[in-house]
């Protein structure tokens, strides 16, 4: 595999957890909730995935455990931000803070502080015959671990539910004009809680994918801001699954650039390349805002 193909494949692989997390965040924000606990949910998903796969042997169970971890974090956030109607941004930050503490505690308990952490086998790529033989993009799109294919499916499902069903219409109504929706009989807060839980579950899958399909172990704070990047991806993607998918790929590519540079032998310090995704997010946000409209009621607690 030459460098370009490798770079494209790495981009898709790295983008997968980001896509999971940002799809989930998109659902929550469409319902009117800005959910900063997505970082904490992802981290819980990382731990759940690692411990689940370790304890029960097997990636599918790991993914399910990761989803459960994300759900738990989202439930706490929903209780505080929607239930108690507190400031969503600060509540999300607090929940993420707690998640960092709890996952660190649990991991240390399970894996010990001797330094030899958990090591897991990472999921092998699943090759789709014929399609994977396409030049350049073949291996990138059709020779990935199965959570990538699942993510693509999830994007389609999210699109259909949010934009083509009555349920989705009510969800979006709650995010745009909560008072009017409520007057029409839509239980806005219930929809918001559900949306946040879905978002947390998907962030949990994102974390589990990060561990089980990429890194192969757990480390304190391993998400390194990916949850926050997911929020930027939602903005860049104009709160639409297709846009979100493209933006996620963009970030995957920005991160994968490190490997391309290394392969090309360029003497760029790796830390500067590490900055790239975050700087890209800033630049992209600059260009996105103004031409883009967020859900009108985003961040405002519904009655």
């Amino acid at each position: 595999m030459d460098a370009i193909t490798g770079f494209l494949a790495a981009s898709v692989r790295i983008a997968t957890p980001l896509l999971w997390a940002s799809l989930g965040e998109m659902v929550a924000e469409r319902a009117g909730v800005i959910n900063l606990s997505v970082e904490g949910a992802m981290l819980a998903g990382c731990l759940g995935g690692a411990l689940g796969a370790q304890a029960f042997g097997g990636a599918p169970i790991g993914l399910a455990c990761g989803m459960a971890g994300g759900l738990l974090v989202a439930a706490v956030f929903a209780a505080v931000a929607i239930g108690a109607k507190t400031d969503q941004i600060i509540a999300g930050t607090a929940v993420t803070l707690a998640s960092v503490g709890v996952t660190g505690l649990i991991y240390q308990r399970v894996a010990g502080s001797a330094g030899s952490g958990l090591t897991l086998e990472t999921m092998p790529p699943v090759r789709i015959p014929l399609a994977a033989d396409l030049p350049l993009i073949g291996p990138a799109l059709f020779e990935q671990p199965w959570p990538t294919y699942l993510a693509a499916g999830a994007a389609c499902l999210v699109w259909w539910v949010v934009f083509r069903t009555t349920l989705g219409l009510r969800l979006r109504a709650g995010g745009e004009a909560a008072t009017a929706a409520r007057a029409q009989g839509v239980p806005v807060r219930r929809y918001q809680v559900a949306a946040v839980l879905v978002g947390g579950a998907m962030a949990g899958v994102a974390g589990a994918t990060l561990v089980l399909a990429q890194v192969g172990t757990f480390a304190e704070r391993m998400t390194a801001g990916r949850g926050f990047i997911a929020i930027a991806i939602v903005v860049l993607g104009r709160w639409h699954p297709v846009g979100v998918a493209v933006a996620a790929l963009g970030f995957g590519a920005a991160t994968a650039l490190q490997f391309l540079f290394q392969a090309a032998g360029a003497a760029v310090p790796y830390q500067l390349l590490l900055m790239l995704p975050y700087l890209l997010a800033l630049v992209a946000l600059t260009g996105a805002v103004g031409r883009v409209r967020s859900p009108a009621g985003l961040g405002r607690p519904a009655e």
């Binding site: 900063l36 505080v80 108690a84 109607k85 507190t86 400031d87 941004i89 600060i90 509540a91 930050t93 607090a94 929940v95 803070l97 707690a98 960092v100 503490g101 709890v102 660190g104 505690l105 649990i106 240390q108 308990r109 502080s113 304190e220 390194a224 801001g225 926050f228 990047i229 929020i231 930027a232 903005v235 310090p269 830390q271 500067l272 590490l274 900055m275 975050y278 700087l279 997010a281 800033l282 946000l285 600059t286 260009g287 805002v289 103004g290 961040g299 405002r300």
Partner: protein
């Protein structure tokens, strides 16, 4: 008296609940909860050394950053990037401290500290510029800049600023002239006095100056401030953010000149986020922030003691901090909003 006790009730309940949750969580996981909590207490208050050199020293960055957070929050702006601004201030202090190590301390120290504050303001200035010109919400931009600063420090201490022997990822130690004077027999440095003065100064500024009034008005009633008061809401909140960054940068400079004397990665164990808890639980009041900062300093010192003596990872104390934030939030949500949705 009753009113004072009532106001004290919320923070005390918050801390109590947080500690209870921590103890419960520890027990659930099979740690020695009792031993852990008592190690926490000893680390914070167990001895004069603990109080002076652990608790109060750790309180300094929390108080200073907390004051900055309060300025921003009062103006209805959200600075979640204190970590990055702290790092920027630490870098500036290190660079200047290394270069100016020989001059008279009376001149060098204020210069180094001012440089730290300026660096912090410059770092958040990026986010402020993005907000003013492009409408990028400061929540996201300040958050993302944290990670950029982190990578930047990593690059510096493994590259241009690395110590002369090129072994460890840290800088050389700064010159003697740049180091803050320390209370003999302890590690308590001048920064604590500065923190107290800043708290007093900010309290006065909030209540008695036009700037303070404008800043608070913009946060509490932006529409009224703009229409009836003729206040430039966008500009006032931007200035508040810059001050917020300056305080965080100053805290970074204080940490380098008073405690570590060198730059390395992860200089801040999450001070930027803890300070948000400090500011919130103190109701964004400068003098209360002083008290809350000391309280949280005790938590941090206790956490280190807990890790040292009972083998419980220090991050566990995040649970206490998060609980305090949540309790403060719920308490406030009952009465009024912390910040309005619009301050642009």
């Amino acid at each position: 008296m009753i009113a004072f006790l009532r106001r004290l009730g919320l923070p005390v309940a918050a801390v109590g609940l947080g500690l209870a949750l921590l103890g419960g969580g520890l027990a659930l996981l099979g740690y020695d909860a009792g031993g852990g909590l008592s190690a926490l207490g000893r680390g914070a208050f167990g001895s004069w050394y603990a109080v002076g050199s652990a608790t109060l020293v750790r309180a300094v960055p929390l108080i200073v950053i907390g004051l900055g957070v309060a300025i921003a929050f009062r103006a209805g702006a959200l600075n979640i990037g204190a970590e990055g601004q702290f790092a920027a201030g630490a870098v500036a202090a290190t660079v200047l401290g290394l270069g100016l190590g020989e001059g008279p301390p009376v001149a060098v120290i204020p210069g180094v500290l001012a440089a730290g504050a300026l660096a912090g303001a410059a770092w958040i200035g990026i986010a402020v510029m993005l907000r003013q010109r492009f409408g990028v919400q400061e929540v996201i931009s300040t958050l993302l800049l944290n990670f950029v600063a982190d990578a930047g420090v990593s690059y510096l201490v493994q590259g241009p600023l690395q110590e002369s022997k090129h072994v460890y990822p840290q800088s050389d130690t700064i010159g003697l002239a740049a180091r803050l004077p320390v209370l003999p027999g302890s590690r308590l440095h001048l920064g604590f006095l500065l923190a107290v003065l800043l708290a007093a100064g900010l309290a006065v500024a909030f209540r008695r100056t036009i700037w303070g009034f404008r800043t608070r008005a913009v946060g509490e009633a932006p529409l009224a401030a703009a229409l009836a008061g003729g206040i430039d809401v966008g500009r006032t909140s931007a200035v508040a953010l810059l001050w917020s960054g300056a305080f965080a940068g100053l805290a970074g400079a204080l940490e380098v000149t008073g405690v570590t004397y060198a730059l390395f990665q992860n200089l801040s164990p999450g001070y930027g986020f803890t300070a948000i808890a400090v500011a919130l639980i103190a109701g964004l009041e400068p003098v209360a922030i002083l008290v809350a900062g000391i309280g949280f300093g005790a938590l941090e010192a206790g956490a280190a003691g807990m890790q040292r003596d009972a083998g419980i990872p220090a991050v566990a104390v995040n649970v206490v901090q998060a609980t305090i934030i949540v309790v403060a939030l719920v308490g406030v949500a009952r009465s009024r909003r912390i910040r309005p949705e619009v301050a642009a």
